[in-house]
């Protein structure tokens, strides 16, 4: 068994280099190098267990590559998910004739998310100046391409909807109702994709912790996006709105169910969702946006008005923080999963999981 320290690269030191040079000199001068050579740390090589016929991997090196995504990606999952769900809330609340201020605030969240998303995604690129290549082709088999096109429609339509809402005087009278309705519907339609596609994006990869959950992830991320959008609206003052409470409770219940499914899973690919630092982040996110948000919201509906609003604000903070942690946790779990060679190689689980 090698420890992690032994796996670290060994760098030649000055003394060993000096000795090698002396040997070379000696050989050049006399034709023979008689003295002893050097013994690098960890020598002699090779050092793999001799006679271990059961060894079925390559020095426990990972088969897959690390995703190489920067922190902007999970933050985008959070921002884009909340914005997409907010656009849906804005459109539906508008059709249902809900309070104008609620519709406006939901549109604000959608527009803010729409403005934040492109910079986040561009910052993640290795060559940010070539971001426009994302719209060079339309490629249904690439989830990343579909996401770029979705954002390309979602961002302008949700920003336009808010602008039309705030500056109706810019529009000719006969368009004042129709135009925001059209752009708002477009934002809501693309918003449903914004809230769900990121689940397909990570699910349709070679990373076991992600692709083994490809059926769960889009619904998980939709519920997470909805919970965070509801939470943001509650924090903007809509903390006694009944439809939002119902939505918040539904999202929290879905999160509870998904959290329970992950905890009960015996699939070894789900290990990074439960163990190590990535496991703790996923768990924290799940508990905050699932059971805790549910209990606080349920409590608020039986408590008095003042306490009820306080409880809902607490639930809102939990939903928003839980959603962000959920996205960060899933990306971290993917990183850990990619470095574990056991699933790609189909190795039996005979040794402790690699330390993360």
């Amino acid at each position: 068994m090698k420890t992690d320290d032994e796996k670290k690269p060994r760098l030649p030191d000055a003394a060993s280099e000096e000795r090698l040079l002396a040997l070379r000199d000696e050989a050049a001068r006399s034709g023979v190098a008689a003295g002893p050579g050097i013994r690098p740390a960890g020598a002699p090589f090779p050092q793999v267990e001799i006679g271990n016929a059961a060894r079925l991997d390559y020095y426990r090196l990972p088969v897959l590559k690390n995703p190489q995504w920067t922190w902007e990606v999970p933050v985008y999952f959070f921002v884009g998910g909340a914005a997409g769900a907010a656009a849906v809330i804005a459109a539906v609340a508008g059709w249902a004739g809900a309070e104008k201020s609620l519709v406006r605030d939901a549109r604000k969240i959608a527009a803010a998310g729409a403005l934040l998303s492109p910079p986040l995604l561009i910052a993640d690129l290795g060559r940010p100046s070539r971001f426009y290549n994302m719209l060079r082709v339309f490629k249904p088999q690439s989830v990343m391409s579909m996401g770029a096109w979705t954002l390309a429609f979602f961002a302008p339509s949700s920003v336009a909807t808010l602008v039309f809402e705030l500056r109706q005087d810019l529009l000719p009278r006969f368009l004042r109702r129709a135009l925001p309705a059209v752009t708002g519907s477009m934002a809501a339609a693309t918003g449903t994709v914004m809230a769900t596609y990121t689940g397909v994006l990570v699910g349709a990869t070679v990373v076991p912790a992600w692709n083994q959950n490809v059926k769960i992830l889009p619904i998980h991320f939709a519920a997470s996006g909805l919970g965070s959008a509801v939470g943001m609206l509650e924090l903007m003052g809509h903390d006694d709105n009944q439809p939002l409470l119902a939505l918040g409770i539904s999202a929290a219940l879905v999160e509870c169910a998904i959290g329970a499914a992950i905890e009960r899973s015996a699939n070894p690919a789900d290990e990074p969702l439960k163990r190590g630092s990535s496991g703790w982040v996923v768990r924290m996110g799940g508990i905050l946006s699932g059971p805790i948000a549910f209990l606080l919201r349920a409590g608020s509906s039986v408590a008095g008005r003042k306490t009820g609003r306080r409880l809902r604000r607490a639930a809102a903070v939990c939903s928003v923080a839980g959603s962000l942690l959920t996205r960060a946790g899933w990306v971290a779990a993917g990183n850990a999963s990619s470095q574990d060679n056991r699933i790609p190689l189909g190795l039996p689980d005979q040794r402790p999981a690699p330390r993360r």
């Binding site: 796996k7 090779p46 793999v48 001799i50 590559k65 690129l125 070539r130 994006l201 889009p218």
Partner: protein, 264 residues
């Protein structure tokens, strides 16, 4: 144009790393630094953005009559020169959102460096862990199958440099025949653990750079069941449609039936 391929015959590899060096020189790939891994004499470790050929040092059992040291002594070596597999159904090519990754007229998978914007989605789409983003440069890189040399009618640099013909380049169909013949040859000489690694039965649908190895392919870090991630698209988008439907219906249920009045 005919589809070309690589047959990497590990039974002929002597671990000289001429392919690694030739590849680095021809393609002008940056150095990987000067670090010892302590894993046999494999200080390259794995394929990556700056390593497009990688000679693996697999420590095997002593087999009487086929070389190796006496029992109890340091084990016998197997070498194999790893490379991008140039899959029939290439995960990286399918995933690339910019169309930077293309299939060349020789059947190889090629990353166009003037188009790639470094989104690194190909990195999580390769079942063999080959393509990687060069963090200094920002773009993703992998074996080009020496597209430039093939265009000029030359064989790839690694195959040209290989002193033992362990790396064979040619028409893919010819190479597949040649591999079968070689397998029979080896069997006739008593080497019965040689096999061809070419996952034709998986969703990858076969590889253009395939291998002849001894023993379990997993000791060369070759996954037994590689899958192209496009197989997850259908269940994923189905679930996304369900999620989107629930999102809209749930919101409608809340706002149309839940009443619009504030509590009290």
């Amino acid at each position: 144009m005919t589809t070309t391929g690589f047959l990497t015959d590990s039974t002929l590899c002597i671990g000289c790393k001429a392919c690694e060096v030739a590849c680095k020189e021809w393609n002008q790939i940056p150095s990987d630094g000067y670090a010892w891994s302590g894993m046999s004499y494999d200080n390259t470790r794995a394929l990556g953005a700056t390593t497009w050929r990688h000679v693996q040092f697999v420590e095997g059992e002593f087999t009487s009559g086929f070389g190796g040291s006496a029992p109890g002594q340091p084990p016998a070596w197997e070498f194999s020169s790893d490379v991008c597999k140039h899959c029939e159904n290439a995960g990286c090519l399918e995933a690339c959102p910019t169309g930077a990754i293309v299939r060349t007229e020789f059947g190889g998978v090629f990353v166009q460096p003037d188009v790639c914007n470094g989104c690194s989605y190909c990195v999580v789409s390769c079942p063999f862990g080959v393509v990687e983003k060069n963090l200094e440069d920002g773009r993703a890189f992998k074996c080009t199958f020496c597209y430039d040399r093939q265009k000029a009618g030359m064989e790839p640099a690694c195959a040209k440099a290989c002193p033992t013909e362990s790396i064979q380049f040619g028409k893919l169909d010819d190479l597949r025949d040649r591999a079968q013949i070689r397998l029979l040859e080896l069997e006739a000489r008593g080497i019965d653990d040689a096999r061809i690694y070419d996952p034709v039965d998986s969703s990858v649908g076969g590889i253009h750079a395939f291998f002849l190895v001894r023993g379990d392919p997993r000791i060369y870090n070759l996954p037994p069941h590689p899958e192209v991630p496009t197989i997850y698209l259908k269940p994923g988008w189905k679930s996304a449609a369900l999620g989107a439907g629930l999102l809209v219906l749930g919101t409608m249920a809340a706002f149309f039936t839940g009443g619009n009045s504030r509590s009290e």
